[in-house]
Symmetry: C2
Amino acid sequence: MSSTLSNRQVRLAKRPEGAATRDNWQFTTEPVGEPAEGGVLVKTLSLSLDPAMRGWMNEGKSYIPPVEIGAVMRAGGVGRVIASRNPAFAVGDTVYGSLGVQEYLLVPQEDIKRNGLVKIDLRAGSITQWLNVLGMPGMTGYFGLMDIGEPKPGETVVVSGAAGAVGQTVGQLAKIKGCRAIGIAGGQEKCDWVVKELGFDACIDYKAGPSAVRDGLKAHCPKGIDIYFDNVGGEILDAALARLARGARIIICGAISQYNNANSAPAQGPKNYLSLLVNRARMQGMVVFDYADRYPIAVAEMATYLKDGRMKSREDVVEGIDTFPEALTRLFTGQNFGKLVLEVAKD
Amino acid sequence: MSSTLSNRQVRLAKRPEGAATRDNWQFTTEPVGEPAEGGVLVKTLSLSLDPAMRGWMNEGKSYIPPVEIGAVMRAGGVGRVIASRNPAFAVGDTVYGSLGVQEYLLVPQEDIKRNGLVKIDLRAGSITQWLNVLGMPGMTGYFGLMDIGEPKPGETVVVSGAAGAVGQTVGQLAKIKGCRAIGIAGGQEKCDWVVKELGFDACIDYKAGPSAVRDGLKAHCPKGIDIYFDNVGGEILDAALARLARGARIIICGAISQYNNANSAPAQGPKNYLSLLVNRARMQGMVVFDYADRYPIAVAEMATYLKDGRMKSREDVVEGIDTFPEALTRLFTGQNFGKLVLEVAKD
C-alpha cells in the first residue's frame, strides 16, 4: 500500500541567526518506502512543537546533537502504524516517538529504540494529551518538580511559562502535592485561565508592567519562594532569585527568553545569583531524557490525575504541516495558549 | 587588673560605595571594664580578615545582619582570657570567637554563645592555623567540598582563589579524598606554591592573559570539571561553567570579584548558566555558619592532616590594629598570599 504514498517533509535549510523564519526551512516531498523485516511505517498524526526546537537548530554541543543542515527537523509526535513487519507493532497501533516534521516515518528495526517508538494507549489520554501532560512536557514538569524540586506540603512553588505545556503540569502537580502554586504568564487571559481553570493560587501577568513580576512575587510569596521552576530565564529568573526562601531549589528547565539570541551571543546571566549563597539555595539543570526509564510510572500517575479531573490540560492545535515555520515562532512570541501541537493528519 | 587597660577599636564610620578606604573607619579608644558574674574578658591576639567583611559593611538583608554605623567592625579571632568569672573559662585559656576589630572584648555571660566563644587547643594547630585551616575558612572549604561537592575519587575539582584561605583547604582536601585538584590563582608565584607546596595537580594563573583561564581549564580538565568551588564569581565562574562535566556540582562560596561593586550594582551574572541545563549540573550556595554543630568533627579531621603533613597552611600576617583598613584592601587586590591575619598582640 505504501508505495503509492508521498511524504511531505520539513528540512533545516540553514541555521538561524536570532529568530527562525520560513527561510530556515526547506520543504521536500519523497516517496515512502515499505518496511523491511522488523521495520514499521508510521503515519504522523500530531507533532509536538517545543521551545527546545530552537536550540536543536543551533550548531555546537548541547544535551543532544544539533539537527544537521538538510536533515528532516526533529520532532516528537504521535502517529499510527500503517504497515508493520515487526511483531511488537500492529497496523492500527498508536505510537509515540521521534517522528520528525514529516507525514510519514519509515523505521527500520535497528532504529526503533533510537526513535523512542513506543505504543501508547489512548484510553489514558487523547493524542494531544499524549503530547502534553503524558508526553515530554508533562514528564519534564513531573521529574523536574518531583526529583529536583522535592516539594513538601505547604511550600510555595513558582513556575514561569505557567500557561505553557510544562508550566501547566508543574503548577497542577504542585497543588496535588499540597503546595501553593504561583504562576507567571503573559496576559490576563492566560493568567485567568491558570487560576480559574487549573486552580493555581495566583498568576502574575509579566506583561502588566516593568515591576509586575517583582511586585507580584512579593505579594504572593510572603515567605519567599521554596521552588522556582524556570522555563524562561532573563529578568524573570532574576526576579525569582531576589525572592528565594532559605533552602530554595531552582529547576533550570529552559530559557525561552534567551533562545533567539544570535548563536554567538550568550544568555543573559542571572545577576542575582548570589541569592543562592545568602539563601543556601540551589539551581539545577535538567534534561527530561535522563528520566526515560521512569516515564511509564509517571505517565500512570498523571493519567489517574487526568481521569479524576485533578489535572487539566489545554492544547493549542495548529493544522497542516505547511504551517510549521509560522507555528513554531508562536512559541517565542507567547502567542500560543497551552501546549502547541501541529496536527499533520486527522487519522 | 583590667581597669587600667584601654581598648583601641575600629568602628564602621560610613558605608563604602565601591572599595572600602580609610575614610570608612573610625578609631576609638575606650576603657575596658571588668567581667560581671559569668562574664569573661578576652584580649585579642589575632583576627581573621576575610572577603566576607566587605559584604558585612553593606546595608540590607544578607545571610547575617550588616555591621551598624558606629559599631565595632565584626571579626572572628583568637584571643586569651585575661579575666574570668565564668567556670567554663580560666585565665590563660586560648579562645576563638567573634571578637571584633578591637584589642579587648568583654563578654557578659548571656553573650558567650552569640559571640561563639569557645576554647581552642593550640596543640591541634597554631593561632594562625586556627584562623585558617581549623577556623572559618577551613570549615568553609571542608563543608562546601564535602557536603555540597560530594567528591568521588578520580573526579576533577577546580577551585578559584586557590592560594587563599578557603582555596588552599579545598584543593588539599580534594587531593586527600582522591580527586584531581586544579587551582586558579593570581600570579606565577602563587601558582607555583599551590602546585609545589600544596600538591595541586595544576594551577592556572588568571593574570597570564585574557584566555588563560579558559585555555588552562581546557588543558587541565580534559574530561570536564566535576566540582567547581567558586570564591570569585565574574569571568572565572563563566569559564568554569563552560567546562562542566555531566552532573557537575558548583559550590557558590563567594564572589570576591563582585564585592566592591557599588551597593546598588548587582553582581555580574554568569552568562553561561545554561550549561547547568546541558550538563544536568547544580550550583548551590553555602554559608559556613550552618555547619557550626559539626565544626568539632571537621576540626579533628583537619588537625590530623596538619599533623601528618598532608595539609599545609600559609598565613599572611599583618601586624598592628591600626593597619586594619589597608590590610583589608589587600584581599580585594589579591596582594595577600595565604590566609590574611591581623596580629593585634603577640600574647
